[in-house]
Amino acid sequence: MLRLSFKEVSRFFPPVRGRTGSEGVLAVEGVSIDIADGEVVALIGPSGCGKSTLLNLASGLDRPSQGEIFVDGEPVSGPNEHVAFMLQKDLLLPWRTIRKNVEFGQEIRRMDPAQREERAQKFLHRYHLDGFANHYPHELSGGMRQRAALARTMMMDPDVLLLDEPFSALDAQTKMVLQQDLAQTVAEEKKTAFLITHDLVEALALSDRVLVMSRRPGRIIEEIPVDIPGRDDPMRRRQHEKIGPMTARLMSLLDIGKVEQTV
């Protein structure tokens, strides 16, 4: 069963009226991606190639200019409860405690308060935030804040997780710990995930397949299956002998080393 599917999707951003030299941008062109139930697919590509545009389209926050997107077989026409989003920015609301932040989505969906609290408790515990439930976000480290964001996302019990560079603002060690948490959750709950990242090793360590996107207008130029065991254990997977050669292959596909990177 297909959880998430892009059918010949293009997104053109029209020129801004009144601004000279603005011609509009074709962000992505003719992108087709199928992600099956329980699959984790990573998407890599140069900066500004339209990766985040694809996620915005999948989440229903943005609409494609051409083509269509399906979640659980239904065409996406706006935000829906099948998908949940996690970004590089944790987007914790500073005026809410961690517990209240984790409850935020279900509060908006008007889940029964008692049930909501119980559920939040469970996720706070799972992501090692028990002692911090009543703290405010500014009192927590970046890693803990991102874990709270992960708890808030998982609170929604989505079928599809959309992850837009969720760990790129973290230091290397915190990142690995969080990748481990995420990989285990995804494996245990059999979630489907679409992960955008700049980090080639992260893409290989966390996913079943890596898609490579071209420069703008973004197209899918390569698909690489990650046939390394242990998707639920990225710490071990990172050390696998195939990771080196596969990273090298991705680098050459992205022209890293040949052209200077504009990050």
Partner: protein, 284 residues
């Protein structure tokens, strides 16, 4: 008052840390002493300075003369009643002005069209010296408390409106997207994102408004009427009673300080979550 200096000194700390803290408290003690000394010097200068410098009592009366006049006005006049009337006008004018300014700020902040239509008038009114409307209000409503309240409303309205409007416009769009992803309604987006986001800016507006309300009320009281501290001030001025003028100025200042402190206390209670806020952001 609102400086973020650590006031509490915890005794049981690591050695070097407690050394640093006792150093800090020593610095603080010195600051307190110097402030107290400056206050004493100021009061002494007021008491003995004017006669020493040959300044006439009808220009600057001595501190003790001002104090005596205050007691006299309290006992023989109705200083307490006038003070309470002014307080009432300040509270009502401030409250209504803030409420109207905030509501207008949120409405304009959320509706581009409304802002475009209303902004020229807002700009013009913002530049106009609001206290100049006080005589007009007196002509309309007569010698009672209505013109004072209206002037206060008018002067408080704009800083609150501008602060709220600017902050509603500056909400992090990805926070709104987050709420939209959870399928939040427009009302939910307002009450759960935009409103709490704007609270710090709203409070900066309230702080400015608190002192401005006293100015508005005072000017309107000076224009006409025979109750309120401004009217007392005008009466003292008419009778060449310089000490009486000083008494009313001091009381008006005290009202302004009280209003400001109350806003700060409310702000601290409401914005408990906030990390330390910079001290000098009065201009907000």
């Amino acid at each position: 008052m609102a400086d973020g200096a650590p006031l509490a000194v915890t005794p049981d700390r690591a050695p070097e840390e407690s050394a640093r803290f006792s150093l800090a408290s020593a610095v603080q003690r010195r600051e307190v002493w110097l402030s107290a000394l400056a206050l004493v010097a100021f009061l002494a200068g007021w008491e003995w300075g004017p006669p020493l410098l040959g300044i006439a009592p009808y220009n600057i009366p001595r501190l003790s003369a001002v104090f005596e006049e205050g007691v006299h006005m309290w006992v023989n006049g109705e200083l307490l009643r006038h003070t309470l009337i002014t307080c009432f006008e300040v509270i009502v004018g401030f409250g209504l002005g803030c409420l109207m300014g905030a509501v207008m700020g949120y409405v304009l902040g959320m509706s581009r069209l409304m802002e475009v239509v209303a902004s020229p008038y807002i700009l013009a009114l913002q530049i106009a010296p609001k206290v100049a409307f006080a005589p007009l209000f007196v002509m309309w409503f007569g010698y009672n408390i209505t013109p004072r309240i209206l002037t206060a409303i008018l002067i408080v309205f704009f800083p609150v409106l501008i602060n709220v409007l600017t902050s509603v416009r500056s909400v992090d769009p990805s926070m709104i997207d987050l709420a939209r992803l959870f399928k939040a309604t427009r009302a939910q987006i307002f009450w759960k994102i935009e409103f709490p986001w704007s609270l710090p800016a709203l409070f900066s507006g309230l702080r400015i408004g608190a002192t401005l309300a006293v100015i508005g009320v005072t000017v309107a009281e000076l224009v006409g009427g025979n109750v309120g501290l401004g009217a007392e001030l005008a009466k003292a001025e008419g009778g060449a009673n310089t000490a009486g003028v000083f008494v009313t100025i001091i009381l008006l200042t005290v009202i302004g300080i009280l209003a400001y402190v109350l806003v700060i206390l409310a702000e601290r209670a409401v914005l408990r979550y906030a990390p330390q806020r910079p001290a000098g952001d009065i201009a907000g």
